[in-house]
Symmetry: none
DNA sequence: TGGGATTATATGGGCGTCAATGGGTATATC
DNA sequence: GATATACCCATTGACGCCCATATAATCCCA
């Protein structure tokens, strides 16, 4: 499985360490299994994360923008300076930077939600509520959801 | 990781020394890990820096501008003639030239912002405000910051 | 197939190393 | 000699590495 799926709630210890769920670790490429990137989610009070391979793709994309445009600086600043790389120790744990914990309201526990090619980290209660809300919103759009799920090809 | 990412705020001591963040030092090629170049940012009151290897890349960027335009001379002059090389000591610290400190309004603390292939040094408050402004511009103009971050391939 | 043995995961804690910072002193530049 | 800069050493706190334990999952064999 090469996608981040399922959800897990792990504890943050006194040193601030938290285990990246084992199944998430296995999604990371063997070459860079000890480093991930984290950044503030744009739409929600949560942290998003993924392997560093993605960072190179992002860099490439930004490089294609006009270097002397204002957009270039805006993207470059909003992305590169806001992305945080963090190391995963031998036991599969990492540190969530204080600023990101504040942003997500995380204190003693972190809820990991697989999102396919990336994952989100939430304060557990907020995360669960967000899941319910998402589902509720989807069901309201019953028709389109059914189409999406059952449509062939 | 071969990109400048994240942000750090370091102190400038009485002698004017400031630590280049460890993760930034690691981006510099092992061959020239004790030397960086600094220059005034064209668009913002900040200092930009990178390894000396990037000089060629900067030259290329400028060359892509219309040679006969006013911009060409302006960029060429304001960047190349203003580039300053500075050495990094054994502890990873360097001196920010007085002229550049003045330009950026830096006094006792320097904020380092990763920008991918280069980095910026700001007076901390100005730098943080700039980050907010950048993000606000992107979101308001619906430029797809989210796409940039999550898009596949 | 049941139950003990082995392995993996999440978690806790000790300790050495490194990064950031401060300061003394030698060397150099003028 | 005065100022600036590089090298050396010291301190502090954070982080990485190592080891240990508990619980859960898996395996293995009679």
């Amino acid at each position: 499985m090469d996608l981040f799926v399922s959800k897990y709630i792990n504890k943050i210890d006194k040193k601030g360490r938290v285990s990246l769920p084992s199944s998430f670790r296995n999604v990371l490429p063997k070459a860079n299994r000890n480093e991930i990137i984290l950044y503030k989610s744009i739409k929600t009070p949560s942290i998003e994360g993924c392997g560093i391979g993605r960072l190179e793709e992002i860099a490439k994309r930004i490089n294609n923008l006009d270097f002397f445009s204002e957009d270039y600086d805006d993207f470059s600043t909003s992305i590169f300076s806001e992305i945080i790389t963090t190391n995963i120790d031998k036991e599969g744990r990492f540190l969530i930077p204080e600023e990101l914990k504040l942003y997500a309201g995380i204190k003693t526990e972190a809820a990991f939600f697989g999102q396919g090619h990336y994952f989100q980290i939430w304060e557990p209660n907020k995360g669960l509520k967000n899941t319910e809300d998402s589902r509720r919103r989807l069901l309201k759009e019953k028709k389109s959801l059914r189409m999406m799920l059952t449509q062939q090809k």
